[in-house]
Amino acid sequence: MEALHFSFDGGRAPAPFAPALVGVVASGNLEVLVEPAAGTGCRIDVDTSARGFGAIWEAVLRDFHERHGLAGIAVSIHDMGATPAVVSLRLDQAVSAIRGATP
């Protein structure tokens, strides 16, 4: 297992939201938990069963940040070997979930 940590700046805070969970920890899948966090950054913590893919995670998560530009959030990921496309879809699903959820 490998733990990766990323932080992105320059986003905008979303409307207040309740924590949201999407996805499942299963082969080729991942779960994404999005929570409000103090500060103006977008923090992303990844626990993944697949070692050695840090550069790809960085690229996928940077794309995510460029798409949504969120600040004041913490994203926690438990991954079991999801492909980059699945990761991107789950992240977009998580953003949809917090936009539809009220605190």
Partner: protein, 300 residues
Amino acid sequence: MSGASFAEMSARERLAAVVDAGSFHEWLPPSERVMSPHLAQLGVPAAFDDGVAIGRATLDGCAIFVAAQEGEFMGGGVGEVHGAKLAGLLRRALRDRPAAVVMLAESGGVRLHEANAGLIAVSEVMRALLDVRAAGIATVMLIGGANGCFGGMGIVARCADTVVMSDIARHAMSGPEVIESSHGAGEFDSRDRALVWRTTGGKHRWLTGDCDALVEDDPAAFRAAAVAALGTHRPMTLAALQQESALLQRRTDVDGDNADAFELWALLGVPDAQAVPDLDAAAVRVRRPVALAALANGGA
């Protein structure tokens, strides 16, 4: 039919579809991060909810407690935290006395990574479930996940007042691969999917009296069956246990040389037994009275 497949849904989607819309209040939600202490040591990613969502909700306006196991995470295996969440929910039911405890079960049994902790957890869940049932609170198991309900959870399920299964659900003690690896493919060929389903599937469980409702693979059908079970109490008396034991003995007598399910159905007088796997749930439902009458008489 609502169009959705109960088997294909996630645990949280099923839970939301079964209880009254928007009524679920979760205890120990993912953001609390009450996770397995064992998986990280083994280098396996944990899940924020340890594979089970628990909480309170309403069902047809009645206050209930509810749990849903996620079969995609570790095959729904019961680890220490997962089991403690189920047992805690049941113990809280003894205190708060909801109308029912509804469990959406999908599990291969004890999570092998957690060995003894998981075994102890399952036994605690059984004990707590029997206490809840004895307290006169309706206990309802909904079995419809793709992974079925096996091992320790297979036993837990049969401790409840009411067991609801879909025609594609499976319920047993040892899973097909376990039986094959211990007794050989001649005993049970786990790759023969038709054999596996007609031996452990909902239709067989229904025809031989092991489940109390047989529904289509549809969340609305599971919800309706759960509502219908709200008032069902089956006190576990000595007489009831003796009756159950006698029924099982007669089933063994009828099925003397370990017949295939096809033969057993035919022995019990089920009309058109060979066609059962292709029938829908409604057509199988109407075939039960003759089978149960035959079992009561020790054969057709």
